[in-house]
Subunit: 162 residues, 2 copies
Amino acid sequence: MYRIGELAQLCEVKADTLRFYEKHGLLSPSSRTDSGYRIYTEADAERLRFILRAKAVGFTLAEITELLSIELDKSNWACADVKGMVDDKLASVEAKIAELNHFQLSLQRLSQACCGGPESAEHCSILEALESNTDSIRCENDKHGFAEHEFTKACTDKQDPI
Amino acid sequence: MYRIGELAQLCEVKADTLRFYEKHGLLSPSSRTDSGYRIYTEADAERLRFILRAKAVGFTLAEITELLSIELDKSNWACADVKGMVDDKLASVEAKIAELNHFQLSLQRLSQACCGGPESAEHCSILEALESNTDSIRCENDKHGFAEHEFTKACTDKQDPI
DNA sequence: ATAAACCTTGGAGTTGTATCCAAGGTCAAG
DNA sequence: CTTGACCTTGGATACAACTCCAAGGTTTAT
């Protein structure tokens, strides 16, 4: 039997989060004290751990609600249903990864094209790339108008294609 | 000179999005007609394209606001400032990718452990994994109580470790 | 002259996951 | 019997980036 603060500490979440989960139907305390304090049982704690594990593999709370309803009525569901949820989530996670990989590649290219020095950004390759729709990014080598030996190193160093 | 719907169509965004950008200080039309219609110039369109390109590499609108203020006052900023923003964004994108890769791996393991068949979820490996804090996931081979030849194939097929 | 297609504004709603607050009640220790 | 730590509720706030709505004004084509 735990009070809200105890369960929160035990599972490393905030008491506010437990109230939030209750409001959204994920986890309700099994009982209350006479004065209204929430009392969670060990079974409640297990349910919370289920929620947290599901969160740890990427499920949203809405999806976890669905998983919990399956969990409580297993015999009326098939493995296919559960695996379907996992595979759907996997697909969406992979789609998100693909998008972020795209961002990553673009950002790496932008970073490589810029000397990153104290020179004025007037000829910054990054800004130029954002100004025009060219896919190729020109390195700002020699654009800054400083003595070449001073500032070109960073850029030439990074010229190897990705 | 474009009206809001024309610019929206040209750049493949919604007119609502342009009003939203205006409300948030990213892009204001250069003028209005007597009757109050927004009129965007070619320079406005270019600014919009800058915004969209920055979005396409992962910047948030708040970050784009910052980039735009640098863009309009380049000489008072250094390459280091711009590259710093790119590198910060790159780091955050990579952190997010790492998190999603973690989700992906976990989901793949869960998916592999489950036969995904029409059997009752009573012995579903996925649910069992979410119920207990074990890191290793037991395959549900033979747990369903059906004739072995019928349902074990999917699971044994996928036994190779990740 | 009228209908269709466009535009205006302010504001609300969405998704997701909390976090924080104020005003007040409860409980255990000293 | 007071202090401090805990608990209650409802509601506000936050982020991100839109998206939609209603009620009305404007433009354009026929």
